[in-house]
């Protein structure tokens, strides 16, 4: 981007923060016009910083930046939407952060993706009102297709023949549903029920708001979630940090076998 002005305005969602030195932070922003980028906020960890609250992760802000030698520098920031209800609920917060991590991992720097930007804000708005947490599934499916990894749901991912109505094998490696004759060729997969396939098909064309209206029972949601998790793992080739965190909220705290007394090995606080 050589044609960029020395300073510019852009709107974006803050995806994550990393601390830098004594009082600075680097923020990863997902912007409608600029795509994903990192920028530095100077002195933002001092108590009197003007920008601090406007640059919290999950905030949608109007940003003013000056071009820097390496990374651009924030000069002003003002909140557009703080998505407060998301922050006040542990499960909503975890899902929102998981989706932000997906955006971070599925995008490359400075490549604008306006549709994905809208999708992220739709999700955050949903979580900020009373939409069920299942909208995370719609987000997963849509980010896959917006990034060019559309899951094949109508025809067989291997031979292209029409999939008859019924429980069908879903193979993340093949890229979608696999018809019965092709089943031996798909290396791994899981059997999806007709209902789960219908949910996925609906999510393909529905907005987040429409998907929020869909009532999914727990078993069905888990089925859809596992299939999508397979597909995402296939693309990213790793687990997401926030995804692991979401899982850890669901189970009781494990005994890590650490003894309290005399244990001098402790992990330092992150980011310092």
């Amino acid at each position: 981007m050589t044609g960029r002005a020395r300073s510019y305005n852009t709107e974006g969602v803050i995806l994550r923060r990393r601390n830098l030195g004594e009082a600075d932070s680097i923020f990863t922003v997902f912007s409608a016009r600029e795509g994903k980028f990192d920028a530095i906020a100077r002195g933002v960890r001092k108590p009197r910083s003007h920008m601090r609250g406007h640059l919290e992760p999950l905030t949608r802000s109007q940003l003013h930046l000056a071009q820097g030698r390496n990374l651009d520098v924030f000069t002003q920031a003002e909140t557009i939407a703080a998505y407060r209800a998301v922050r006040d609920d542990l499960d909503r917060l975890a899902l929102a952060l998981y989706c932000c991590e997906l955006v971070d991992r599925f995008t490359v720097e400075r490549a604008p993706q306006p549709l994905l930007y809208d999708l992220l804000n739709e999700l955050l708005e949903g979580l900020d009102s009373d939409a069920p947490l299942t909208i995370g599934r719609a987000f997963e499916l849509r980010i896959l297709s917006l990034s060019g990894f559309e899951i094949q749901l109508s025809a067989c991912a291997l031979c292209g023949s029409r999939i008859p109505e019924g429980d069908t094998l879903f193979s993340a490696m093949a890229g979608g549903l696999v018809c019965d004759p092709c089943r031996p060729k798909a290396e791994t997969g899981r059997l999806l029920s007709v209902r789960a396939i219908k949910v996925l098909r609906f999510a393909r064309s529905a907005t987040i708001g429409q998907f929020a209206g869909l009532r999914l029972d727990e078993a069905l949601e888990r089925e859809v979630q596992r299939a999508l998790a397979d597909a995402i793992r296939q693309v990213l080739d790793r687990e997401t940090n926030a995804g692991r965190y979401v899982d850890s909220l669901a189970r009781p705290l494990r005994d890590t076998g650490r003894t309290a007394a005399g244990d001098v090995q402790w992990s330092p606080p992150s980011g310092s």
Partner: protein, 202 residues
């Protein structure tokens, strides 16, 4: 960094050791190493003793996880302190800050904060130790004094969820405007919380 063939091996090793420290680049590491080389032997010995002492003599208090030389630490062993209140902080430095404010209860140091994006979960910080500690029923109130950041709030919410069933009161430090702030630049969340927590002037 200088290559191993021209720099004697002990110096090279020292340079590499310094280089591993946070915030020390290759040039600074070299300067520090050569400074030690020129310095009198006592200075080098004092440094190495201090380094080893901190690893040998400092441990975590078995009660509150604060860093300490004796176990339990001076805060936990002090009978004059209020043993019914536990203030939960992210790191040992935060404890010192709270202590300066005049608080005279007990502490619990988490040694970290939940950070979903970096994969720091409840099992990576000292949450479990807090839960175990609350089982003796002495503590009546747990004050969540994690930072008012996304990560700090997430940690506070998690702990509240985990110890809620134990019947202990969980409170959170007030959030609002810092001294010397400008309303004009204050973000919406902070301002909204400041309004919620407003006080009658007396």
């Amino acid at each position: 960094m200088a290559d191993g063939t021209s720099t004697p091996e002990p110096i090279q090793r020292l340079i590499e050791a310094f280089h591993r420290l946070p915030g020390v680049g290759p040039k600074s590491a070299q300067r520090l190493a050569y400074h030690i080389l020129r310095a009198p032997e006592q200075e080098a010995r004092a440094l190495s003793d201090a380094l080893l002492d901190v690893k040998r003599r400092i441990r975590l208090c078995s009660v509150c996880m604060n860093i300490t030389e004796q176990d339990p630490c001076t805060y936990c062993a002090d009978e004059r302190r209020d043993h019914t209140t536990i203030c939960v902080v992210e790191q040992a430095l935060d404890l010192l800050a709270i202590e300066r404010s005049g608080y005279r209860g007990l502490y619990h140091v988490l040694h970290g904060v939940l950070n979903p994006m970096d994969g720091v979960g409840p099992e990576d910080i000292r949450v479990r130790e807090l839960i175990v500690r609350l089982q003796d029923g002495v503590a009546q109130e747990v004050i969540m004094a994690t930072n008012p950041s996304l990560e700090g709030e997430a940690t506070a919410m998690l702990i509240q969820r985990l110890i809620g069933p134990a019947g202990v009161k969980v409170t959170r430090l007030a959030r609002g405007l810092p001294s010397g702030a400008d309303l004009e630049y204050t973000d919406d969340v902070t301002l909204a919380r400041a309004l919620e927590g407003r006080r009658e002037l007396v």
